[in-house]
């Protein structure tokens, strides 16, 4: 994304005043009696106005509340990795095309690099680190180890979270389901064989 020369709305030239201009337009929109979906979305913006400066946000991560000061433009991924030191979620491609930044939000798989931290207040965020408590590890983590579903390991935590959530929602997934359902993540070393075997073993009850 930094490769682009495009004007970036989060850049230094994008001031608080510009932002408020936008919200003024939104306020006008609320006056319109009949709203289309776009206007409705703009109206919602009014309640979600944040200043460009850093603001305090409380994030519930792995069962604990963390109050952090972040600029509205900061992604959840950066807060998790750089502020909370939960580095299991990785930054691989700024477009989140790879899934290495997958975390759980309210039980769903979410790309933390595509979500602003300020959007995540009040939600239940879980990272891959929560799948190991001391000696106790989640079945997906254990399955990844058993089937050697990793090489360099950099994509692995994202894949583990994606697999955990996928199996939570599809406990009886077939091979075909797995091949579609885990298609959001990329591995460069080529560990798909082990990941498939792990997911299939869990979804078929070890058979």
């Amino acid at each position: 994304m930094w490769d682009r020369n495009d004007q970036n709305r989060s850049g230094p030239d994008f001031s608080r005043r510009d932002f408020l201009k936008g919200s003024a337009a939104a306020a006008t929109a609320t006056a319109v009696a009949t709203q289309g979906p776009e206007e409705a979305a703009a109206a919602n913006l009014k309640t979600n106005v944040f200043a460009a400066a850093a603001t305090s946000v409380t994030l519930n991560v792995n069962g604990k509340n963390h109050t952090v000061k972040v600029e509205p433009r900061v992604t959840l991924l950066h807060v998790l990795r750089n502020t909370l030191n939960l580095t299991g979620c990785k930054e691989v491609d700024e477009r989140s095309a790879d899934g290495a930044d997958t975390v759980m939000i309210d039980g769903k798989a979410v790309l933390a690099g595509s979500r602003l931290a300020i959007e995540c207040e009040g939600k239940e965020i879980r990272t891959v680190e929560s799948l190991r408590q001391g000696e106790k590890v989640d079945a997906v983590v254990a399955g990844f180890v058993k089937h050697d579903a990793m090489q360099c390991g950099f994509c692995t935590p994202g894949f583990v979270v994606a697999t955990r959530v996928f199996l939570d929602h599809n406990p009886k997934a077939s091979l075909g389901d797995i091949q579609k359902g885990l298609g959001g993540n990329i591995c460069r070393c080529g560990t798909y064989q082990g990941i498939t075997a792990c997911a299939l073993e869990i979804s078929t009850g070890g058979k």
Partner: protein, 714 residues
């Protein structure tokens, strides 16, 4: 007492070696607790972002970083290429900014004012005529063997064709980069994403004016290297300089686009070739001219190894031309340059077989006498043919029938690699309480080095894998080989076995004296020392005889004592479906049959082969660097448009480790490179078999498949 000899155990006596053993760092990695260079967050760490040149070639005309320096949060700016400097390919770093947050560093980068004076560029790697006109070519040699003209006249079957394979990048999941932190004025601690823990300290020290002894390199985990991460690199040194300027630790990782543009490429190769055979199908002639690019240096795949694997073809002309392009430079890419050589050899042989009306399998088999390992290839081909059901499923190219648009076909190819052991030293320490640990400045790229180290010592001492503490990833440990060329498992296991045996023999002598048993009757198994099969004492008790101080032994390698050797063969077969309306190729099944001497951990060994097949699918079908000749830019430098296979794109993978006793007796041979080599050619041959048309250039994208089908010629 019988002479003590360094050797592996007899195969049947192994408890661990050769079985499936899960990696000892598996839970750390899978649960996100493993720390890579990209994850280091020491207090106060700053984040760096890069300003890069976007175009083909230029001179930096003006550069003003004043506003960047004043940007809130920015602590340091480093200029890589200042006014007057030439920037010669897309992605060249111009400047870097370190700030309190990555977002502020991006603000800083945006605040830099830079102008360029454009210069002419050339980025087309395939257009030899255009490159010649643009004066971008140079001869890279030619040589002859035998009598090509006479042999061509005498030949019964002659095939001429054009083939090629595009440039790809390494595309490591963890980009190149480091975290640098100064300890006082003259001591530097670097967490570096590197394949070369023992060799990179000096590369920081030199440019920074430090003693190499004052640079600490740490790399506990590395998120992919594939041959691209042997150096400190200018951005590593710049990270240290930014850190010094700011007085704070700095983490500088390349962003994805820059990683792909300058983090390493695999050179391309395009070839015009004539091949010929006698009436019996013996290949008698190879006559080729190939070209391609490695970047500005203007090299291509090496001349010396064509025709790949079939060096025994008696009459041969070969010639190479390099094209200098304004593109990011090449670096060693897994098995350099064998995948490209294979892609422009095995495909040619396959088309010759088709021209003869022969079964491709038979022609490969017939010509194995021209390869380095005919017997191993022959055995592996027989195994592979059974696994893919070659006999039943083979049909002549394009004659598979079927009414629909989807055509199915089979293909095969073969490869070779060296895989000798690298030069490594290790320390093995046995403590009086029985604890075992080892130290070596090696690294685990994901091949399972750490686990192999633990297995080697555990097997030697009769312990469990968890009983061995493995210390790698720091340059204060004894020097280990850089991990490239499949030399690491041999590189570490030889010295560890030697040191382990020496330590064990000392312990045996103490046990023999104490318990009045002959030392040569002793073995170590299951945490016990046995004499002629009967327990004498526990491992712990035996180590207690060492006295108060630990026993420390150094191991070295490689040595010619049979623990390691080199040279592997390997064959792969592909079963694909091609939709002739959309041009989409799907993998039904891939079979790999691979020898590699003695296998220490079969689980991680198989993973290497699976990984090779999947990387092979990538470069065979979808992965390539796309350069725009007008702007000189690498236009698909992101993971949306640089297409890698996903979990549903790989079909059924069958890996057969070729392991007769004759392989075990060869000792350890490297495995990382070979399984990625022949996948592309095997898939290309299967597509030709399915459609009756050769898609000449890999990757076989839908566009290339449709273009070839339009041409209609095999």
């Amino acid at each position: 007492m019988a002479e003590r000899k360094v050797a592996w155990k007899a195969r049947k006596d192994n408890s661990l070696i050769g079985s499936d053993i899960t990696r000892i760092d598996g839970v750390e990695k899978a649960s996100g607790h493993a720390k890579y260079a990209a994850d280091i967050n020491t207090p106060g760490t700053l984040f760096a972002r890069l300003l890069t040149f976007k175009g083909g070639a230029a001179t930096v005309k003006t550069l003003d970083t004043a506003d960047a320096e004043k940007t809130p949060g920015v602590r340091a700016v480093h200029v890589f290429n200042g006014v007057g400097k030439e920037v010669r390919w897309d992605g060249t770093i111009v400047a870097a900014v370190a700030a309190d947050t990555p977002e502020q560093a991006e603000d800083g980068v945006r605040a830099i004012k830079v102008t360029y004076e454009a210069k002419p560029h050339w980025v087309d790697e395939e257009d030899l005529g255009g490159a010649t006109t643009a004066k971008r070519t140079k001869p890279l040699g030619d040589n002859q063997k035998g009598e090509v003209a006479a042999a061509l006249k005498a030949a019964k079957h002659v095939h001429k064709g054009y083939y090629g394979i595009a440039t790809i990048t390494h595309m490591c999941m963890e980009p190149h980069g480091s975290h640098c932190e100064w300890d006082g004025e003259d001591k530097l601690n670097v967490h570096l994403s590197t394949q070369n823990v023992s060799g990179t300290g000096g590369q920081f020290a030199g440019p920074l004016g430090l003693d190499a002894s004052n640079v600490s390199i740490t790399c506990n985990y590395i998120g992919g290297g594939f041959g691209s991460k042997f150096a400190a690199d200018q951005w590593g040194v710049a990270c240290a300089q930014l850190s010094k300027k700011a007085g704070k630790p700095v983490r500088l990782m390349l962003d994805r686009a820059t990683e792909m543009k300058i983090g390493g490429t695999r050179p391309s190769g395009f070839i015009d070739v004539t091949i010929a055979a006698d009436a019996e199908g013996n290949i008698t002639v190879w006559d080729s001219h190939h070209w391609g690019t490695s970047g500005i240096a203007g090299s291509t795949i090496s001349l010396g190894q064509l025709p790949y694997c079939f060096d025994g073809i008696p009459n041969r002309n070969r010639k190479a031309t390099g094209i200098s392009t304004n593109t990011g430079p090449n670096r060693a890419w897994r098995a350099p340059p064998h995948p490209q050589l294979c892609a422009v050899t095995a495909t040619v042989i396959d088309d010759l077989a088709a021209k003869m009306g022969a079964n491709s399998y038979d022609i490969f088999m017939k010509n194995l006498d021209k390869t380095p390992k005919p017997d191993v290839y022959a055995e592996e081909m027989k195994i592979g043919a059974k696994l893919i059901d070659w006999k039943a499923k083979w049909h002549a190219h394009g004659k598979g029938g079927g009414k629909g648009a989807v055509k199915r076909g089979l293909g095969m190819a073969l490869h070779r690699w060296g895989g000798r052991a690298g030069a490594t030293t290790c320390t093995v320490k046995v403590h009086p309480d029985g604890a075992v640990e080892t130290f070596l400045g090696s690294q685990d790229l994901g091949t399972g080095t750490r686990t192999v180290i633990a297995i080697t010592l555990a097997e030697t001492f009769g312990l469990g894998v968890a009983d061995v503490k493995v210390n790698i990833g720091n340059n204060s440990y004894p020097k280990a080989n850089p991990s490239g060329g499949s030399i690491t498992v041999g590189g570490v296991s030889g010295p560890l076995r030697r040191a382990g045996l020496e330590a064990l023999w000392k312990i045996y002598d103490l046990v023999a004296a104490k318990h009045k048993v002959p030392a040569d009757s002793l073995t170590a198994k299951g945490g016990k020392i046995l004499s002629a099969g009967k327990a004498v004492c526990s491992w712990k008790q035996a180590c207690g005889l060492l006295g108060p101080m630990p026993l420390e032994v150094q191991g070295q390698g490689p040595k010619n004592d049979g623990l390691t050797s080199s040279g592997v063969a390997g064959i792969q077969m592909a079963d694909v479906s091609v939709d002739i309306e959309t041009g989409i190729v799907r993998i039904n099944k891939l079979v790999a049959v691979q020898d590699c001497g003695l296998i220490i951990d079969e689980l991680t060994a198989r993973s290497q082969v699976y990984g090779g097949l999947i990387m092979g699918i990538a470069y065979a079908l979808s992965e390539e660097r796309v350069m725009d000749n007008r702007t000189g830019r690498f236009i698909n430098a992101d993971l949306e448009n640089y297409k890698l296979p996903r979990i549903g794109d790989i079909g059924e993978l069958v890996v057969h480790m070729y392991q007769p006793d004759s392989e075990y007796e060869r000792g350890v041979v490297g495995l990382g490179e070979p399984p990625v080599i022949s996948t592309g050619a095997a898939i290309s041959n299967a597509v030709a078999n399915a459609t009756g048309v050769r898609v000449p250039v890999q990757p076989l994208t839908p566009q290339r498949v449709l273009e070839a089908l339009k041409g209609g010629q095999a």
